[in-house]
Symmetry: C2
Subunit: 454 residues, 2 copies
């Protein structure tokens, strides 16, 4: 009954059924994702993907963000989702151990562009997210699935994309069940491809597969209608689970929403989350004590052991490694009072000046940060040239689920990202459209603005 119940939930839940805090959080994540897609549209990989799909052609069904090109809905979802993940600046979920918005949003935008309203979009986005969070919450599935080698943004991304796509297409319950069966036969993505261009391409492929699976179900293609509970179904092959606890996946469906509790994370800086609290703590101290770079002799970051392990590049060779380098991120923050997308270009990382300042940054394991719920925190200690020591502690990094970015900060990040493509007027229009998304009659109008660019 599990697949049927999840399908019924999708079919029977509309915008009007969503609690107000759910809608508010959804707007944060939608605006954030649109911003990172716009920023990603200037990455060289975006041009490669665009060339590929331009050569394949396709009906002009859906727009590519940051570009005047339109193509078929699955292909548009593919390009937009790839662009949304290429900077690794998009939101992420602890529940799903993945980046969920980047696969759902391009899917529901592509299918909704022609005739859906802002309310339709909000409902499809929230339902895609919620159903996937439920699927991911099956006891025993995560983190084993991820640790075993699957790229969750890709595997679970197919499922959140198909759930959202099924909603915005208005499929009936049997069609949604088939759509899940079809999509389960499309789930893939090996984490060993990390470090190549495939990490963002996985997001694109997953988003497109969800769109295609829902369209195939709409076209009358049938599949196993019980894919989440049947033997040798999704959980068996992708999680080594032979039994499924249905109650955990369906209890309080429609009442509790993962997007609010526990919530997801929105990145304020385009680098690893484990650097964020330290960056904020440094900004706090340099501002409070009016410290310029030349005033600082030493910066010591006390962090959790997991953060210590993840941030393994003390001398990063390129922009990708720099995202996981505490010395680089701290030197950048000290020198520039900001940490921007362009700071993770290879050339800028290898600049001799910043290298000098990286040498004054130390990271140590602060055992206190290994306590539950504190792994993203920092205890920062700055020693000045005149021998003074200033410390500041941040336990819950801003942007994390428990300390979410306020709307203004999301807007500010969006505008920085969008400025690479849109002028101030268009950028402000998008912010206003998303802020009042339930009043937007045709989301195609939003796409028209987003598709400006070259």
């Amino acid at each position: 009954m599990l697949t049927e119940k999840l399908s019924q939930f999708i079919v029977e839940t509309d915008f009007e059924d969503l609690p107000e805090p759910v809608v508010e959080r959804a707007k944060h994540h939608i605006l954030d994702c649109l911003g990172v897609i716009l920023a990603g549209s200037k990455h060289p990989l975006a041009r490669q993907m665009l060339n590929h799909f331009q050569s394949l052609g396709g009906a002009r069904q859906a727009g590519i963000i940051g570009c005047a090109f339109k193509t078929s809905a699955p292909q548009a979802a593919f390009v937009n989702a790839t662009m949304g993940h290429v900077l690794d600046f998009d939101d992420d979920s602890d529940t799903m151990v993945s980046h969920p918005t980047v696969t759902i949003l391009p899917a529901v935008l592509a299918l909704g562009e022609k005739g859906s309203s802002g309310k339709d979009l909000l409902a499809a986005y929230v339902l895609g997210l919620e159903v996937c969070a439920r699927i991911a919450s099956q006891p025993g599935f995560l983190p084993g699935h991820y640790e075993g080698g699957w790229h969750t943004t890709s595997t679970l991304g197919v499922l959140n994309s198909v759930a959202g796509s099924a909603k915005i297409l208005g499929l009936d319950v049997n069609q949604v069940r088939s759509a899940f069966g079809i999509a389960a036969s499309e789930v893939s993505g090996l984490r060993i491809n990390f470090g190549s261009m495939m990490k963002p391409v996985h997001a694109g492929s997953a988003s497109a597969k969800g769109v295609s699976s829902a369209l195939l179900a709409k076209a009358g293609i049938t599949a196993n209608p019980d894919i989440f509970e049947c033997s040798k179904g999704f959980y068996d092959l992708y999680g080594h689970l032979s039994t499924v606890d249905e109650a955990i996946l369906t209890d309080s469906l429609g009442k509790d929403f993962d997007i609010v509790t526990p919530g997801m994370n929105i990145k304020k800086y385009p680098c690893c989350y484990y650097t964020h609290a330290a960056i904020d703590a440094l900004f706090f101290l340099t501002k409070k004590y009016h410290l310029s770079p030349d005033d600082v002799r030493k910066i010591q970051c006390g962090i959790s052991s997991i953060a210590f392990d993840v941030l393994k590049y003390d001398a990063p060779a390129n922009g990708t490694e720099a995202k996981f380098s505490m010395p680089y991120c701290m030197a950048r923050a000290l020198l520039d009072h900001q940490v921007l997308i362009e700071d993770f270009g290879d050339e800028r990382v290898n600049n001799a000046d910043v290298r000098k300042w990286m040498n004054i940054v130390d990271k140590i394991v602060e055992p206190f940060m290994d306590e539950p719920g504190k792994s993203l925190g920092v205890c920062l200690q700055v020693t000045t040239m005149d021998g003074q020591t200033h410390t500041h502690e941040i336990i819950k990094a801003l942007g994390g689920a428990e300390n979410p970015l306020p709307w203004d900060a999301v807007v500010s990040k969006f505008k920085t990202c969008a400025s690479r493509v849109l002028d101030e007027k268009d950028s402000s229009k998008i912010v206003s459209d998303i802020e009042h998304l339930e009043e937007v009659a045709h989301i195609g109008d939003i796409l028209d603005t987003l598709s400006k660019g070259s």
Copy 2:
């Protein structure tokens, strides 16, 4: 080095390097596959898939067989491969526990239609097949992968499609390695979807994914270059193998070819292979003793236990079940002296007349057939109305790898299949083109003929 060696083999092997028996066998399988695609193009599922992809549009790169529509190469491969598997009448391989030609051939046709020769097609087809057979032969991979729940025609189909696609696109070694990495991140297909429309759709999806992966590699997308030997790569996630024996996969590459030794199976009748020997034995006896249906009191089929288990529908409810029904296939053979595609339409299966004759067919386990290599055999016993008993034994069913269909029989099957779409002149032209495929300068000309139809 495994992925690199397989990639080098693809790049460095051309038509001129293929032994003559390999080329001859390839022509059998290519002609056979084209025939079943033509026949499948009249199945209702073909129309559904066509409608779906027509709505998505696409550049006019490659033709749909049996239809004047052209679309992008991945989409054309998707439709042609789905049509080629919808009747379950396409060839299969014991090495790969799958139907391999149906995923490679549509891929290399779609990519080769614009500028490739018959020699290019033969090389790409043979290499796609051979590399996939090598991958499937890794000790410990099969049959566990299939029995675990993966649909090999879908999973391995992505890999044979990408190998053939990489060849016909002329990728270099690094590009082929990336193409394998990309394709491995696309491998999927759950066997639990059998019994729905997804079985043939899996073939379509796999073929398309191979095409797309090769095109992405050509467009410069990179992936893990060692996907077959790396930890948490293809074998780990899809076969629970932590180590790989490279020698077994690469020894005598280019000398031994799976298509010749052990060879693959071509179906003579559009039903389960385990019925084929019994059908041939019945034809033999009714011809030898001039038996009409009214002369026959009882037909007893002594078969292997595996055949007994697979042929589980003694009273089939529809055409799909009838393919796995010994009584139905034998009654049909007795009444009509032939077993045709249209015999597996639901209406024809439920005809009262045939039901009467099904009652005189019995199947028993003949322990002798459980000996190695005899599972496809039959010991047939026909009892006549006048009390006589005639027996005939066939150990190696015709069409099986060890008793391959001669060219004339392949041509005969092709012409029967093709007659649903092509006139006699076009049908004969295709036979002649494939018989002399190495002399064909542009395979687009073959596609032009195959794309006639409505």
